[in-house]
């Protein structure tokens, strides 16, 4: 029968499609990890050209940018999902938030450079980089928050309000806990993008590190791993082992992203399971 043949053919094609997606990914990972892993020695981290400082800065800048953007992003997302009346104004906010998510990051970088580096006089520092990165995070956070809150069944909201809870009580005790796994996934996404960001940080956070190890001074220089990778790839001084450093850094970045994903998704799965209860589903 024709339908049967078409079905079998399509199934094979879809398997091939899926396998090629996985193959591309595996090719990327083996290429990058294969070239980079051998260089990940303790010398690579702690030696004279070691990336210990960059590794620290990557997380420190990520952390600061989240500290700056999370409260505002969550707040705005909550407002859009739970309070905002449907009108032109909220439509406009939503529209601009979404369109901003696709503006090239270098534009944020220049904006940050003019505002934070120049106008606020922060110079090329961890703080300037984090503040600019926070701008990049904001639209994604607002969107993710709004979406995960909207995914919470209406019935929870109604049940709580019908018991005489205020909106704030309903949010804090029912909606946010239920939306938490979605929020965590969203934050993972934001973090992944922030860890890999270069264009923004070149113009705001600088390209060297503080000479004090693990310097938490937000006005120290803030080169991150991704920027470091960019820098050694761009201007590899002969005599330094620039290529090895680049390969190792690329591998380290990917490992970081994988670890980050695992660290954030496992607890969120656990949370989800706990919420759904032991007995069912």
């Amino acid at each position: 029968m024709k339908a049967h043949q078409a079905d079998r053919f399509a199934t094979i094609m879809l398997w091939i499609g899926a396998l090629s997606i996985v193959a591309i990914l595996i090719a990327f990972l083996t290429l990058i990890l294969g070239r980079g892993l051998p260089h990940l020695t303790s010398e690579f981290f702690n030696g004279p050209d070691g990336v210990r400082g960059q590794l620290f800065n990557s997380f420190y800048i990520l952390f600061l940018s989240l500290v700056l953007s999370l409260p505002v992003g969550l707040g705005a997302g909550i407002y859009m999902a739970e309070y905002a009346p449907k009108n032109k104004f909220t439509d406009l906010i939503r529209l601009s938030t979404e369109s901003l998510a696709s503006v090239p990051s270098i534009v944020f970088g220049l904006f940050g450079m003019i505002v934070f580096v120049n106008m606020f006089g922060l110079g090329f520092t961890i703080l300037g980089g984090s503040a600019t990165l926070a701008l990049l995070n904001l639209p994604i956070l607002v969107r993710v928050t709004e979406e995960s809150l909207r995914a919470v069944p209406r019935s929870y909201r109604e049940a709580s309000l019908a018991l005489g809870a205020t909106m704030w009580q309903t949010l804090r005790k029912v909606i946010l806990p239920t939306a938490l796994p979605g929020l965590i996934t969203g934050i993972t996404l934001v973090a992944g993008r922030a860890l890999g960001e270069t264009a923004i940080l070149i113009f705001t956070a600088g390209m060297n590190v503080s000479r004090i190890p693990f310097d938490v001074n937000p006005l120290a220089a803030g080169e991150t791993l991704a920027v470091h990778l960019f820098a050694v790839k761009s201007n590899p001084l002969p005599g330094t082992n620039a290529d090895q450093i680049a390969d190792g850094t690329a591998a380290l970045l990917i490992i970081m992203v994988i670890v980050f994903n695992i660290c954030l998704t496992l607890p969120s799965r656990w949370l989800q399971r706990r919420q759904l209860g032991k007995n069912k589903m």
């Binding site: 450079m113 006089g121 113009f203 120290a220 820098a231 761009s234 201007n235 330094t240």
Partner: protein, 262 residues
């Protein structure tokens, strides 16, 4: 008593704890070395560095948000009014490089200019094999490109057909893996994955530059807003110090200013 020769920077001249320098990516590795050593000598001082391109450095130093702007080019007219002061810190020679398959070792100035303007498109026209020439250059705004256009091409423009990379590293990769490719880089970054050409019969070496035989080079600049004082002055003094110039400038492939005649 003060002398005109550069004194070793003394701790007394340190005023600011943190100074920033940004700009040219070509110069950045050298400044980074200087900063590392300067910081090692002056504990408590932090030199923050960034790249972003020569104009990024000049714009920021002109607006006062950083102390030092690193540049491959002389500050443009627009920024003159900001009172920028030029410090020439070293000489950067440039090289014409080709893919290793190319069977040409030397280009005359006229040949090079014809290649870069797009007049000559095959290596056989300059004594090589029958192979199409692929130019891989730098961006229109790059200092390296401006210098090559000025010195090699007498101010003529590079052809549009040239591919461009935004950094020396990517350019080297491109030339190394493209048959018939030619490009130009800061001599400091030469790798053995590509072949350097002689220019008008002269091979590049620091000596041929110093003696004036090899003409493709330019000065690297560090700009300050007004005359430098305190930490900034100490840092610039360190960069100009015989210790740094002799040891590191040469080691990294640049040429100390003091070595230049004229």
């Amino acid at each position: 008593a003060p002398t005109t020769t550069t004194p070793a920077p003394s701790a007394t001249s340190i005023d600011k704890k943190t100074i920033s320098a940004a700009g040219s990516t070509a110069l950045q590795p050298l400044v980074k070395l200087a900063a590392d050593e300067f910081m090692a000598k002056n504990s408590g001082v932090q030199v923050n560095l960034s790249g972003g391109g020569s104009m990024t450095g000049l714009n920021n130093v002109a607006s006062g948000s950083i102390e030092i702007g690193n540049s491959d080019v002389v500050s443009p007219e627009e920024l003159k009014s900001a009172g920028l002061v030029d410090h020439q810190v070293c000489v950067a020679p440039f090289l014409l490089i080709v893919n290793k398959d190319v069977k040409v070792d030397n280009l005359t100035k006229a040949q090079a200019a014809d290649i870069f303007t797009g007049k000559i498109t095959n290596w056989k026209d300059v004594g090589g094999q029958d192979l199409k020439i692929s130019i891989i250059g730098r961006a229109a705004s790059s200092g390296t490109r401006l210098n090559v256009e000025k010195i090699v091409m007498d101010g003529k423009k590079m052809t549009d057909a040239a591919a461009a990379q935004d950094s020396t590293g990517n350019l080297l990769t491109g030339v190394a893996q493209t048959a018939g490719a030619i490009g130009y880089i800061d001599a400091a970054y030469l790798k053995d994955t590509v072949k350097a050409l002689k220019f008008d019969g002269v091979a590049y070496s620091p000596e041929t530059v110093i003696s004036g035989q090899y003409p493709i080079y330019s000065y690297e600049h560090m700009y300050t807003k007004g005359e430098p004082t305190g930490t900034v002055k100490a840092f610039l003094d360190y960069v100009m110090s015989a210790e740094f110039q002799d040891k590191n400038v040469e080691k990294t492939g640049f040429i100390p200013v003091s070595k230049m005649k004229k």
